[in-house]
Amino acid sequence: MTPEPLFAISTLLFCIGLVGIISRRNLFVTYISIELMLSAVNLLLATFSRLHGDSAGSVMVLLMIAVIAAEAALFLAIIIQLARSKKSIDSDEFSQLQQPRESL
């Protein structure tokens, strides 16, 4: 099996995730997009591991899946906290850190 389709899928997944992060404001969609990008990277890592016949990459992928699972719990907790504070899960609502507009 040639690795090119896997590269293409990985790139596609990553791009979908990137566009999702940038264009969507729903925090859940943002979260899903991040997961998507992580998965794309994982896929790439696993592919290279297999290609080079080195199992270290695969081990790292398994480890990352575990970490991502833990991270999901944290992420969901944060979203709940944010939703409580603003009664909204629109990411643009949380922009207190922006530079105040000043007139030129």
Binding site: L18, I22, T30, S91, F94, S95, L97, Q98, Q99, E102
Partner: protein, 628 residues
């Protein structure tokens, strides 16, 4: 360091001490303290100068005393040391400057008493003396220039002493700026001289030794530029307009400027560079012509003035013209002799005028005085002597010095200059006696009740009157059975002139009769019922308005310069330079505002930025390190 340095250092030191005491409490009245310190300093300098003079008497005529204070600049072979030297010219100058200066200080104690800035006045006064002595005693042109500038500074401070009136400030600025014009010439001359000497020493002695290495055109340029400096300090055409305005200062200041310090600096400088001017007689002729024209010009203006101090100011300018005639024609010792006698009678005239002004409650218009002969007898007698002296009536001092100058002009066959000089002698007698008669005669009783004059003010008058009457005998020439003690003592490199005794007698008789004629005419016209000068014909209007020279300068220099500076301010500065700066600041601010918008607080944008950043770094790594 020996006593020579102390002549200069004492007035500077006392100026510093007085200034510090004054600043410690400006409100407190410390008349005795200020007076004693202020008068002590010039007195000590005077005593030292007389000691210097006495020790000079039994030395050879080319003896020079040196005193080195410290090295100022040391750059390889180039040395400037703060050092003083005294030859015979210097000794004479220092002695009479400190003597007359001390008397003026004593007089000033009476004149300025009760002034709220009395301490400051004496501090400036001592500074003025010190600067002039520095100028005179300097052993190289650099130190001389330092003194020259300090004289300009202290005259500025003193002319604008009554600084609450803006007209006085304007007069002080005028004096300062016109002196700057002259100083420019002086600096240029010194620089060219330095370059032309090619590093072969820069003290007066070594310049004199190496003067032959410089070509005549360069020397002429140096000579003319030096004279431009002298024009500024010594108030010659065209840089004289500050002198009449300088009367804004207190009267003792005018006395000091006109008699002992400041205006004589130019004449002294030319005499100091006598070795240089002897190489270039054609520049000397130019100097003499400027001097003669200044003398006549000032005398004409003086005949129509009504302010007592301005009459004296123009008379100073006129007498300075004589001095420049003398030094220009190479009769240096006659020129310095006239400086010497002039110091006495001009100081006396100013002090007398100051006494009259105080007595008349600060009235300066001579037509409002009149009839003071009996009430101010001492002032009248002493001023009469001074007026006789300045008018060149024998045997008073001015006769001998002026006669020597006119004889030199005649003997060197500059009949034009001689003619102007003789005409000016007549005008001098006319305007001086006009002033004297209008102030002291012209009515029998004073028109107001006079204020008393303090003892400080009338004692110096007597001493100066004695000097004005007798000091001319020091310069008694061979023709009168004397041996010109002054001229042979000072031993300047005069150009030799030959004139027969009989023509010398004729010239003396002519000068005396000119003086007497002026005196007689003044008596006929002004001794009784003199009135303010009125305009009957056009030329009188021109003379009363001082030939419209101030207006001409206003039109020629002040207005164009002001328009030019306005142009620079409004267009070059505001539009040009400010515009360029505004463009850059505007673009920075604009760019800053644009970049600030990136920080919009939205987390998804931040994610985009980091992604873009990572992408760019990756691209960089791929292209430059990965070598795609």
């Amino acid at each position: 360091m020996n006593l020579l340095s102390f002549i200069v250092l004492i007035p500077f030191f006392s100026a510093l001490v007085l200034g510090l005491i004054y600043l410690s409490d400006t409100k407190k009245d410390r008349f005795t303290l200020y007076t004693s310190i202020g008068i002590l300093a010039p007195t000590l300098s005077m005593i030292l100068s007389i000691m210097l003079w006495i020790s000079m008497l039994d030395q050879d005529s080319d003896t020079i005393f040196y005193s080195k204070l410290f090295s100022w600049v040391e750059l390889g072979d180039f040395h400037i040391s703060v050092a003083f030297m005294a030859d015979r010219l210097t000794t004479v100058m220092v002695t009479f400057i400190t003597f007359v200066g001390t008397l003026i200080h004593i007089y000033a104690a009476g004149y300025m008493r009760g002034d709220e800035s009395y301490g400051k006045f004496f501090s400036y006064f001592n500074l003025f003396m010190g600067s002039m002595l520095l100028l005179i005693l300097a052993s190289n042109p650099i130190i001389m220039f330092v003194g020259w500038e300090l004289v300009g500074l202290s005259s500025y401070l003193l002319i604008g002493f009554y600084h609450k009136d803006s007209a006085n400030i304007k007069a002080a600025n005028k004096a300062f700026i016109l002196n700057r014009v002259g100083d420019f010439g002086f600096v240029m001359a010194l620089s060219i001289l330095f370059l032309a000497l090619e590093g072969s020493g820069y003290s007066f002695v070594s310049i004199e030794a190496n003067i032959h290495t410089i070509s005549t055109p360069t020397l002429s340029l140096i000579g003319i530029l030096l004279f431009v400096g002298a024009m500024g300090k010594s108030a010659q055409i065209p840089l004289y307009v500050w002198l009449p305005d300088a009367m804004a200062g207190p009267t003792p200041v005018s006395a000091l400027i006109h008699a002992a310090t400041m205006v004589t600096a130019g004449v002294y400088m030319v005499a100091r560079f006598a070795f240089l001017y002897n190489e270039i007689p054609h520049v000397g002729e130019f100097i003499a012509i400027v001097g003669a024209i200044s003398a006549l010009f000032a005398a004409i203006i003086a005949t129509y003035q009504d302010d007592i101090k301005k009459i004296l100011a123009y008379s100073t300018m006129s007498q300075l013209g004589y001095m420049f005639v003398a030094v220009g024609l190479g009769a240096y010792s006659s020129g310095i002799f006239h400086v010497f006698t002039h110091a006495f009678f001009k100081a006396l005239l100013f002090m007398g005028a100051g006494a009259v002004i105080i007595a008349m409650h600060h009235e300066q218009n001579i037509f409002k005085m009149g009839g003071l002969k009996n009430s101010l007898r001492l002032v009248y007698v002493t001023m009469f002597i001074a007026t006789l002296a300045i008018s060149g009536i024998p045997p008073f001092a001015g006769f001998f010095s002026k006669d020597a100058i006119l004889a030199a002009a005649f003997a060197s066959e500059h009949y034009f200059i001689w003619g102007i000089g003789t005409l000016t002698a007549f005008l001098t007698a006319l305007y001086m006696f006009r002033m004297l008669f209008i102030v002291f005669y012209n009515g029998t009783q004073p028109r107001v009740k006079l204020s008393p004059i303090s003892k400080f003010m009338d004692r110096p008058l007597i001493i100066l009157a004695f000097g004005s009457a007798t000091l001319g005998l020091l310069g008694l020439g061979e023709a009168y059975g004397g041996s010109n003690i002054f001229g042979s003592f000072i031993s300047l490199p005069d150009r030799t002139l030959h004139i027969s005794h009989s023509s010398e007698y004729l010239l003396a008789i002519l000068n005396t009769s000119m003086g007497v004629l002026g005196m007689w005419l003044a008596y006929r016209l002004f001794a009784t019922n003199a009135t303010m000068p009125t305009v009957k014909v056009a030329w009188q209007r021109i003379v009363i308005n001082k030939f419209y020279i101030d207006e001409l300068y206003e039109l020629l220099f002040v207005k164009p310069l002001r328009s030019l500076s306005l142009f620079f301010e409004r267009f070059i500065d505001r539009v040009g330079f400010d515009g360029i700066l505004y463009i850059s600041t505007y673009s920075y601010r604009y760019a800053g505002a644009k970049f600030a918008q990136l920080q919009n607080g939205k987390v998804r944008y931040y994610a985009l930025y980091s992604m873009v950043g990572i992408a760019l770094v990756s691209l960089f790594l791929l292209i430059f390190i990965g070598g795609i």
